[in-house]
Point group: C2
Chain length 521, copies 2
């Protein structure tokens, strides 16, 4: 049995079920092994950033480690953007990257690059397999690293000769440390802070955004008056009717500062301190007021759900708690696109237990808070600011959850980064309705330019306007084997979306946005 086959068998034994891939010559032995071994679903992406984005969406929804198989050097580099997003989401991900044979590498053939350096820039754990006998235990260690709370990026680089030489056979899975519990003195300290009755906010991320985490946070908020806020970019959040309606901290700095004004205590629950996405001249980097104290209830790697539940008990918050309705009523709005009106329309039509993959940038700014009263759903989104996450993430989520409808909210500019993912949806017949917000402009950048104190000119129009010529998303989708329709009003969106949800399989709706009538906040 080759080293490559030993690795594949180890991954399967460790619970890895899907291989998202775009392999090359240095990965041939892995392909040969996958041809031979049962138990791994193989999914092709036509570019590596699709591959890694799929793996991210898959792992977030499957709650199992995702695997990618990509080519050495530039191949892995093509996938880095969505590995970065996955890293920021604490997604457990195992990247298997082939490389030049160890004795060949020193001769510097053309496709030789610093694969290890590239991997280190974006991974928590990197190893280059030194021998075929070790490769199986390297693979087990990679899975262990990926599954270490809160979830890590593990990249295992395998020189071609290590992959093709005689291996050891599969290795046993390695144990994974459970999430550490929060110490009881921390719980008591936070309880004391909350009992002060001063303006306080629980800032939630990661595991705290699960249904159970939100329910416990809600008990605490009701008992103490503390506010609840989610991170600006949530890796996964339980939402919709019956779930606790928690809004995110806004992206725009001034709006975020207003949202947090007056707070005396921010309590971090699976979250890091609230930092602006970017710095701007004359604006602060930290979003909490200067006189606001920061307390850590649970680090991202800790058991935030248990901590919230124990804290709720500690402060004697009632166990059963009615969730009050928040946000607008779902209804089918009419007229041209407007972000909140789109949100209430989508809320009215969203299928039960759907997954919403959000990479909608400016067009989606008001959609999240307009959907508190939609049917229960999971919300997943780009977490690291690398655009082009939506299509692949939705694709991977659909692979993970074949029984659930996936709705992808995709900005057009970001969508062009990874449009190839539509082909994977078509090939795998995945149940995804893609909505492309075709405002034909990198609208966020006009806002950023204004924030930078400049006014648009020739260069910014060249760089921000992605019309001239207009992209035909219906044509792009059809050319990759997917049915697609263009709409220009909310009522025709509603009709088309309802029809798309009434059938199985991938579909794309291009929502043509004529005016920039969305707000930047």
């Amino acid at each position: 049995m080759t080293g490559a086959e030993s690795l594949i068998r180890t991954l399967i034994a460790s619970g890895v079920e899907v291989c998202f891939a775009n392999p090359g010559t240095t990965e041939m032995q892995f392909v040969a092994a996958l041809d031979k071994v049962e138990g791994m679903r193989c999914v092709l992406g036509l570019a590596e950033t699709v591959v890694t984005g799929c793996a991210d969406g898959y792992a977030r929804m499957a709650e199992k480690p995702a695997m990618t198989l990509v080519h050495c050097g530039p191949g892995f580099a093509n996938g880095i953007a969505n590995v970065h997003n996955a890293r920021r989401a604490h997604t457990p991900m195992i990247n298997i990257v082939g490389d030049q044979a160890s004795y060949h590498r020193s001769l510097d053939p053309p496709l030789t690059a610093d694969t290890e350096g590239l991997a280190r820039a974006v991974s928590h754990w990197v190893r280059t397999s030194g021998s075929a006998k070790q490769i199986a235990s390297d693979a087990a260690a990679a899975v262990q690293a990926a599954r270490t709370p809160p979830g890590q990026i593990a990249t295992l680089i395998v020189p071609a000769d290590v992959a093709w030489s005689e291996g050891s056979g599969p290795a046993m899975p390695l144990p994974v440390t459970p999430r550490p519990q929060v110490a009881s003195d921390v719980l008591r300290t936070v309880a004391q802070v909350l009992r002060l009755g001063e303006p306080a906010m629980l800032f939630l991320n990661g595991q705290a955004l699960s249904e159970a985490g939100l329910a416990a946070a809600h008990r605490i908020a009701n008992a103490t008056g503390a506010k609840l806020r989610a991170a600006t970019h949530v890796p996964r959040m339980a939402r919709g009717r019956g779930r606790v309606p928690v809004d995110r901290v806004p992206y725009v700095v001034d709006t975020a500062l207003r949202a947090l004004a007056g707070l005396k205590h921010v309590i971090l629950v699976g979250a890091k301190p609230l930092v602006g996405f970017f710095a701007y001249p004359g604006k602060p980097s930290l979003m909490a007021p200067q006189d606001c104290a920061t307390h850590v209830l649970a680090r991202p790697d800790q058991d935030a759900v248990a901590a919230l539940e124990e804290l709720a008990d500690e402060i004697r918050a009632p166990r059963v708690m009615q969730v009050e309705e928040a946000g607008p009523k779902p209804r089918i709005a009419s007229g041209p696109f407007e972000s909140e009106a789109f949100g209430v329309t989508l809320a009215a039509l969203l299928p039960e237990n759907a997954i919403v993959a959000d990479d909608s940038v400016t067009s989606g700014r008001a959609v999240f808070s307009a959907m508190f009263n939609a049917a229960p759903h999971d919300w997943i989104q780009s977490t690291g600011g690398a655009i082009g996450h939506g299509f692949p993430c939705a694709t991977g989520a659909a692979v993970a959850c074949p029984g659930r409808k996936v709705i992808c909210l995709q900005a057009d500019g970001a969508g062009m980064y990874t449009l190839q993912a539509l082909w994977t949806q078509a090939r795998e017949k995945l149940d995804v309705v893609n909505v492309v917000f075709a405002n034909r402009v990198y609208k966020i950048l006009y806002g950023e330019l204004r924030t930078a104190g400049a006014t648009p000119g020739r260069a910014s129009d060249t760089f921000f306007d992605i019309g001239r010529p207009d992209l035909d998303w219906v044509g792009l989708a059809k050319a990759m084997g997917m049915e697609a329709v263009r709409v220009e009003s909310l009522e025709s969106f509603a009709d088309t979306f309802r029809a798309a949800c009434g059938r199985r399989g991938p579909f794309l709706i291009e929502f043509l946005i004529h005016k920039w009538n969305e707000s930047f906040d």
Copy 2:
């Protein structure tokens, strides 16, 4: 004047004329500066690998340094694959990458990544600007580094606060060292080797593949009987009627070994030793026979043209030399696609002084040697093995040479990596005829799997077959604003190609290949 404006003015003063870009928030100050300053053409790519590939094609043809402006971390990472190709081509390239403000970065906002680490993995020269007063001299140093022979990748990272603070104004261009001359004792030594009359080959790359370099090499070959061969992947080569017909060393190892069998001397001229693209069990890494001596006439950074001319004089090779015809006669072939038949057809139709950008992988294997008798043209191709180079490279070449027709030979699998470049061609109304070889399979990988000793199965069919569903290249092109036609025979290709060359502006021809009737050699 901001640091950003000081940088832009410095680049313009240093002879940088085009900015290929996909900027984000951390690059806003550069966009604002480009709005203000005259003298830089701005070209948008809808993904960074398009941006960097364009810059590579531009610099190869313009013989001027290319500039890119891309976003921090994942933005730059998206462009690494074609930076890698540019690195292998010795393309002078200056990448300007914004980054989080220096005081903001330590707070680790979501879009923070190891930009410097990523840059180091693929650049010859990396610097992070430490202050707005220094940024102009940093920019001048970056141009100097990029232009240092044989051409380098220079990446300058600029934190947002450095870009927006008050700068120094533009810096003066820095001097560039010319290519070092080859020492006369080296020339004499190589001349002695050639006088032995033993089987010898001049292995040519870089500058040696210019018209003058090839002419001098031809004098040497005629006088001594030495063979001439070009690198397997040439950055730029002068070809066609009246130019010296030199073939490349084949990609496939066994074929390369046969081509070099019996040689006693390999003389490197702007080239590195001949290494197989990949290693395979039981096959050698070095392509020259074991008892063959390697001599260096000119390193890649040295003046290879002068060295060849002086060597030719040293051995008293006649100065005027008729170039004998080689290869098949150009003619319009008929029937389904076949690589050599396509090559002779293209040779018959190629416009005078065209530029051929080749990323055709298996479909193009016989095209190069079938085109010795085409009209004079320049041949540029992917040099680093990172696929998806063709469309962007052709795009950049067309920006560099507005008066010349660019023909892009693009394999379909590789083309899907960077199809967004078609939009840039449409926007800029570039004079490119794109030919997509739609065999609907990563055919090279079936060959590699066989070489690895395996037979295709379920996984390899999933990963190598890019049909199911078929990609509609005509639809993809039209959806990005480009006219396109599908052909299925050489005669209809000829008609369509002739018509496309008879007009200006971008065009795409999808050549549907029904059978895998190309050879792998």
